[in-house]
């Protein structure tokens, strides 16, 4: 599934041919400060997970970069998220890592603690971080080193298919203040009104952002500032109990009916009209809404205000391999992806609200309707008091896998919510201890 690779020879030849042009025009942005882009024939590899549409968007941004910096060619390798980490790890193990890559917070600790990532604060000439708020960067900083720059910021989102609701004459309650009880009743009402043709909800129960949100509403957090587990067995058990009650009442799709391997929105339970609501990363609202013919509405999770538990988190991170052969150029590329409005022309807010505030303002002004819905949703949260987001510690990857297993055990009644909650805490502590040893 990798993107049409350019042959190395072709790109080298192109680089050499254009080298003189670069020298003549002196158009390199960082030429004066000795940064990367006065380079010749440099090929940077970027690894990202994407579908073909998203990949095309990134390709456009990289093509624009090549146009402005003819000495640097960016080769995008994209694949679906399922095979991404395996491929990345294989490349690291083979000593041939990509120069720049997507990472998520819960992996960062595992790569950084093993020396795989470059400290991005060490390329001040190529990568300008002055415009970014320090709280944004705090979530990718470990032991005083910066291992990633957020591609943007996002938050948890809940979407409802308004067409389903209209067809059965239901209207959403006031979602800015609704409670979990109202959420429960409304979903049960959908299932009953549609005669079980569409279930009220089928959201991804063990998805870490939702679990974090629940923890935040109960005065806890999934992880603490010093990288320990911050969620108690009881809080998780209560969360699972809520889902069991919802399912038993018919508001949630029956056990075993949801397949988590759908790779496109169209193939998902939401896309097929099997469920009326789903949780998503809010930045993907546009993708989802397009797939559902504009029938989606983005609403807040229920929750007992004032602590609604929402967190504004990095969507993904741009990280750089410590083994990159062109560290300056790679850092300059991350700078382009962070601080240069050109790079946002094609992708807008696809990877979240830009972290550079000036760019964010600029991008927000030109957004299509769906993108604006997302940005407004996120900005609406910003005015409220939010629980802080901490970097997920090494071991978080295994913990989130265990959470998926435990949710399945509860789904099929093989474990009570209480047992699953206790098992989660035991296993999570073991994972954290092992990862830090």
């Amino acid at each position: 599934m990798s993107a049409r690779p350019l042959s190395r020879r072709t790109t080298l030849a192109t680089g050499v041919a254009t080298a003189s042009a670069v020298a003549l025009t002196g158009c390199s942005r960082f030429g004066a400060s000795g940064g990367g882009t006065d380079a010749d024939g440099v090929e940077l590899t970027v690894m990202a997970w994407a579908d073909s549409k998203q990949a095309a968007v990134y390709e456009k941004a990289f093509a624009a970069y090549h146009e402005a910096n003819p000495g640097v060619t960016v080769k995008l390798e994209w694949m679906d998220v399922g095979s991404y980490q395996d491929k990345l790890n294989t490349r690291f193990a083979a000593g041939n890592p990509p120069d720049v890559m997507f990472l998520v917070g819960r992996w960062l600790g595992e790569y950084a603690s093993r020396g795989a990532l470059a400290d991005l604060a060490t390329f001040p000439d190529a990568l300008d971080l002055t415009a970014l708020d320090d709280s944004v960067l705090a979530s990718s900083r470990l032991d005083g080193k910066l291992y990633g720059v957020p591609t943007g910021t996002t938050c948890q989102g809940l979407v409802y298919n308004t067409k389903v609701l209209q067809d059965v004459g239901l209207t959403l309650p006031d979602t800015s203040t609704w409670t979990w009880q109202q959420f429960h009743d409304f979903n049960v009402a959908i299932t009953e009104a549609t005669g079980r043709a569409t279930y009220g909800t089928g959201y991804n129960i063990p998805w870490a952002p939702t679990v974090s949100l629940w923890a935040g509403q109960h005065g806890e957090s999934l992880y603490t500032e010093d990288g320990t587990l911050g969620m108690s067995a009881q809080t998780l058990a209560d969360y699972f109990q809520m889902t069991v009650d919802l399912r038993d009442a018919g508001g949630y799709a029956p056990a075993g009916s949801l397949d988590d391997q759908a790779t496109t929105v169209e193939d998902s339970a939401l896309g097929k009209g099997f469920v009326a609501s789903q949780t998503i990363p809010a930045n993907l609202f546009g993708d989802y809404n397009t797939a559902l013919d504009g029938n989606l509405t983005l609403v807040r999770f229920p929750g007992e205000v004032p602590t609604h538990g929402y967190q504004i988190t990095p969507t993904l991170l741009w990280s750089q391999a410590s083994g990159s052969k062109h560290p300056q150029e790679a850092a300059a590329l991350i700078d382009y992806l962070t601080n240069d409005p050109t790079s946002f022309e094609s992708r807008a807010a696809l990877l979240g609200v830009p972290v550079n505030p000036d760019i964010a303002t600029e991008v927000a002004a030109t957004l299509p309707a769906d993108g604006k819905t997302f940005v407004d949703f996120l900005l609406g949260l910003q005015d409220e008091e939010l629980p802080p987001y901490y970097l997920e510690p090494a071991g978080a990857g295994e913990i989130s896998d265990n959470l998926v297993s435990l949710a399945t055990e509860v789904e099929f009644g093989r474990m009570t919510p209480q047992q699953a909650g206790e098992r989660f805490v035991t296993e999570a502590q073991a994972s954290l201890a092992r990862a830090s040893s």
Binding site: N89, A255, D401, T408, F412, R414
Partner: protein, 315 residues
């Protein structure tokens, strides 16, 4: 070595090889040809032996793929026996093996015997039945299986026709492995072809003589087919056991690499892969691989040992 064979104090009774006559040039060139044909195998061996050695070394180290390995002694091996997930994955693998090997062998033998009845178009049927085993472990087929057995798939639609509400064959942890067993059984073609070849070796006159003596179908099967086919049964059993203990692709594709739902398809080989490539614990993964190697060697040895009592060699 040559010094000992030519030694004058060679033990009495040891046959000295007859003195070689001068080889003809034809023989010499034949020998060279043999080595040429063997060369790919020798080269291939290098690609097996080297990783073999490296993995044995890594099994005694802590190696995270990104930094150099550090020796830790037997730690990885003791961890295998304390790791609840390793136990889960061993249980999954053994359950799968003990279900799928007997079922697929019986199916393969049954189909082979039917085809051996002298059906018209034998070659055609043989190919048709063989086909699944070529593609059974392929990604596309496992995906196909997923959608056939999915919650709203063909199987459940069929059951719904009779008013039966089928489970999530793929998503329910109590059924997912069973679904994989059916996939394994469906690709019985390879052993069927071998059975068929074995069956055709049995002289028809044995059956004719038995019928004359009044032996029924079952009696003929027990007293002629099984004993004469026993070396082939043994061969298929050994290969089947080794193959299914190493199952990987089906579990990987079926669960998207997670071993889910709820670890019900977490094959030992898949767990090993997860440790090595997802958890950066290549040292532990190597130890798991060696434990698996020893277990497979043990089952195979056991098989050979027991075979003395039931496998009948004609010669």
């Amino acid at each position: 070595m040559s010094t000992s064979t030519t030694s004058p104090v060679a033990a009495p009774g040891v046959d000295r090889p007859p003195r070689l006559r001068r080889r003809s040039s034809a023989e010499a060139s034949e020998e060279r040809a043999a080595y040429v044909f063997l060369a790919p195998w020798f080269i291939g061996m290098l690609f097996t032996v080297i990783p073999f050695g490296v993995s044995l070394y890594l099994a005694f180290t802590n190696y995270n793929l990104l930094q150099s390995p550090a020796l830790v002694g037997l730690e990885n091996f003791t961890r295998v026996f304390e790791d609840p997930k390793a136990e889960t994955s061993a249980r999954v693998t053994l359950t799968y093996t003990f279900l799928s090997v007997p079922i697929s062998m019986v199916s393969a033998l049954a189909v082979a015997m039917l085809l051996n009845k002298g059906v018209r178009g034998l070659k055609f049927y043989r190919s048709i039945f063989y086909l699944p085993s070529l593609i059974g472990a392929s990604v596309a087929i496992v995906m196909l299986w997923r959608s056939i057995f999915g919650y709203g798939g063909i199987v459940n639609s069929f059951l719904g026709f009779f008013g039966i509400e089928g489970p999530g064959w793929v998503t329910d942890p109590d059924w997912a492995l069973v679904t994989l067993v059916t996939l394994g059984v469906w690709s019985f073609g390879a052993s069927m072809v071998i059975f068929l070849a074995g069956l055709r070796q049995i002289p028809v006159m044995f059956y004719e003589a038995a019928s004359v003596d009044g032996a029924g179908w079952w009696r003929q099967f027990r007293s002629i087919t099984v004993p004469l086919l026993s070396p082939v049964i043994f061969f298929n059993l050994v290969l089947g056991l080794i193959g299914s203990l190493q199952t990987f692709t089906q579990g990987f594709v079926f669960s998207g690499g997670t071993g889910g739902p709820a670890e019900s398809t977490l094959f030992f080989n898949l767990y090993l892969y997860q440790q090595g490539f997802q958890r950066f614990d290549m040292g532990y993964a190597s130890a798991l691989a060696w434990v698996m190697f020893i277990v497979i060697a043990f089952f195979t040895a056991l098989n050979f040992l027991v075979s003395k009592w039931w496998v009948f060699y004609d010669d």
